[in-house]
């Protein structure tokens, strides 16, 4: 399909650690259209961040992309040279990190961060780049007086605004936001998510929002990609997912989160622990914790099945 912005097929990313091979991303398929927002949801260790980084080919060692394709706008990113990849990063696919304090250079002024990014990819004069940077900062709600300030003079929320401005500086087609609001307080989280939505409408880029907090998805994402133990277990449009999750893990997860709209809610909990990805359970990886698991689930890995026209679920029940 030509309209796909991103198409991931059979992606495997493993970490070769001293204790063994961690199968962080294990045979994942994912596709997204231009301008779509996908909420990539999972617990810590589910492989969601590794997947996000793999798209930019930024998996830190000892991690490696083992196999699979990442086709972005017709280009298979896994086959590009490092030189070619560098032209994609920032320019066509950019990233927003969880804590911008660690992604911003503490010795560099806020404005210079953006100017440098623009000048690295575009042929503009310093003045033109500065003008563009000021405009960008204003768009994310930072007054031009703060152009000369350093990152430590900014609060967490303001730093994340800078992180977003940086990610948008080159007008990319895809932004990968890895837990962009997880270190922020709830009111600031609300502001940042709102800003991201607004900018998405303005710029029309696609977005992959990586988060462990499934509650923030309905307000912002069109689709949900749910990961468990290195695999994609469900992929659906957000509304259908929240109305009726198909995978038992998705079901259990939604029943285990307190919802502020409910009174007298009874939480259900998921027994057991997330598995060790060096020795994942045989068969379906969720089977040791799944209330519906059968003999077959414990023996064989379930295939990914298309339910309806656009939903994918990795479970024998369907």
């Amino acid at each position: 399909m030509i309209s796909d912005l991103l198409r991931i097929e059979g992606l495997r990313v493993y970490y070769y650690t001293r204790d063994g091979v961690v199968m962080a991303v294990d045979n994942v398929d994912l596709f997204m259209k231009k301008g779509e927002t996908i909420g990539l949801v999972g617990e810590s260790g589910s492989g969601k961040s590794t997947l996000g980084r793999a798209i930019l080919r930024l998996v830190p060692p000892p991690g490696r992309i083992i196999s699979g394709k990442i086709v972005f706008d017709g280009l298979n990113l896994t086959e590009l040279s490092e030189e070619e990849m560098r032209k994609i990063r920032g320019k066509r696919i950019s990233m927003v990190f969880q804590d911008p304090m660690t992604s911003l250079d503490p010795l560099m002024k806020i404005g210079d961060h953006i100017v440098e990014t623009i000048m690295a990819h575009e042929t503009l004069t310093r003045e033109e780049a500065e003008e563009k940077a000021i405009k960008l900062l204003e768009q994310v709600g930072i007054r031009s007086e703060r152009f000369m300030d350093y990152p430590h003079q900014f609060s967490g929320g303001m730093r994340q605004r800078v992180g977003i401005a940086l990610a948008l500086a080159l007008n990319p087609d895809l932004v990968i936001a890895d837990e962009p609001t997880s270190s922020l307080d709830v009111i600031v989280q609300f502001q940042i998510l709102d800003l991201m939505k607004e900018l998405k409408n303005l710029y029309g880029m696609g977005m992959i929002l990586i988060t462990h907090d499934i509650s923030i998805i309905p307000g912002i994402a069109d689709k949900v990609a749910l990961m468990y133990a290195g695999q994609l277990v469900e992929f659906a449009d957000a509304k259908s997912f929240f109305n009726e999750p198909l995978h038992p893990y998705g079901k259990a997860l939604l029943e285990s989160i307190p919802n502020i709209q409910h009174s007298d809610q009874k939480l259900k909990y998921i027994p057991g622990n997330p598995p060790d990805l060096i020795n994942p359970p045989k068969g379906c990886r969720f089977s040791p914790r799944c209330p519906y698991a059968t003999e077959k689930c414990r023996e064989e890995e379930p295939p990914t099945i298309m339910v309806g026209r656009h939903r994918l679920v990795k479970c024998f029940q369907y």
């Binding site: 307080d185 009111i187 509650s215 109305n243 939604l254 919802n259 502020i260 709209q261 998921i270």
Partner: protein, 335 residues
């Protein structure tokens, strides 16, 4: 003799005008240039009561003083001003043997189970250590009590966990160990400081349920500190909302969530994400972020961000007043 609080019904915990100011660290040069010492007014005049058997939550954003309040109450740090009464007894200035006796009845569960357990002690020793410190049980008897407690918090088989080290356990399991350690002395009162915020999402509900179950079994009272209002709603009987060192609204859970009065409470509740795309609700977006607690705004501390602020709010600090049974608000606009 310890001073006893007089009154007909005595709450298990009563906090009166509690304050904690931390001096701001300054460089040598700054100290030469100015003699003035700045203080972070982390907790600035907090009063509340928690009845026996209750779950009293303190909720608010980072920097509002909720954790400091919890630490003051279990006497991990000393207050600048104010009084803490536990079971009618003023514990604000206890020390030595008396303070140690108090610790037997008041325990704390910390946020980070990766930092709160001694990595060189086996799980059994981590949990059993308080028994030795308080001279309750040693040797075989201690082991027996620890095993029972490990079973109770769901670390089964207990004998396997007894001899494990913290690094062998997952975050959720470690937090159960922290719960077991807090409960082993059979306290009356537990401060739980964000006990689930560092745990995997799928394990949070289990820890919450465990805490609720143990509360019933052991007849406990909790001071539950959280930034997550959905969790606060789930677990609490009463809630206090803090902003910049002060309680802005306090009351029964039902009242706070169904009929919040303070503009900050309203904004805070409306910012909480809801995992349901069908819910349409009014959302109030506050501008800016929480000001510095070193020089908090004059008058009402929230006036710089409040959509309803008037001149009075900028000048006078509102008091926390009772507007209904079990509903207190500190706001000039609420009558």
């Amino acid at each position: 003799m310890l001073p006893v609080l007089k009154g007909e019904s005595m709450p298990l915990l009563k906090v009166v005008d509690l304050k904690k100011y931390f001096p701001v660290q300054r460089s040598f040069l700054e100290r030469l240039l100015s003699r003035k010492i700045d203080y972070v007014k982390a907790v600035d005049g907090v009063s509340f009561e928690a009845e026996k058997g209750e779950v009293f939550s303190i909720a608010g954003e980072s920097g509002c003083g909720k954790t400091t309040t919890g630490r003051l109450i279990v006497r991990l740090i000393d207050p600048t001003e104010g009084k803490i009464f536990f079971n009618g007894i003023d514990i604000t200035s206890l020390s030595g043997e008396e303070l140690r006796k108090l610790r037997k009845r008041m325990q704390i569960i910390f946020q980070n189970p990766y930092a709160s357990l001694n990595p060189r002690m086996k799980i059994g020793e981590n949990v059993g250590h308080p028994l030795e410190i308080h001279g309750i049980a040693y040797g075989r008897e201690k082991e027996k009590l620890v095993m029972e407690m490990l079973e109770k918090v769901g670390l089964q088989p207990a004998s396997k966990f007894y001899n494990a080290y913290p690094h062998e356990l997952s975050g959720g399991q470690r937090q159960r160990v922290a719960v077991a350690r807090a409960m082993i002395l059979k306290p009356d009162f537990i401060v739980a400081d964000e006990p689930i915020s560092m745990i995997d999402v799928s394990l949070r509900a289990r820890i919450l349920e465990l805490m609720i179950q143990l509360k019933e079994e052991l007849d406990l009272t909790y001071l539950f500190i959280t930034h997550d209002l959905a969790v606060a709603k789930y677990i609490s009987d009463k809630i206090a909302i803090m902003y910049l060192g002060k309680i802005v609204e306090m009351g029964e859970k039902e009242v706070i969530f169904s009929d919040p009065k303070h503009p900050y409470t309203n904004a805070l509740l409306s910012a909480v994400p809801v995992p349901d795309p069908n819910v349409k609700r009014k959302r109030i977006m506050l501008k800016g972020e929480v000001p510095s607690p070193i020089n908090p705004p004059s008058g009402c501390r929230f006036h710089t961000r409040c959509p309803l602020a008037t001149d009075t709010c900028r000048r006078e600090e509102p008091k926390l007043v009772k507007i209904d049974d079990n509903h207190f608000v500190a706001c000039h606009t609420v009558k």
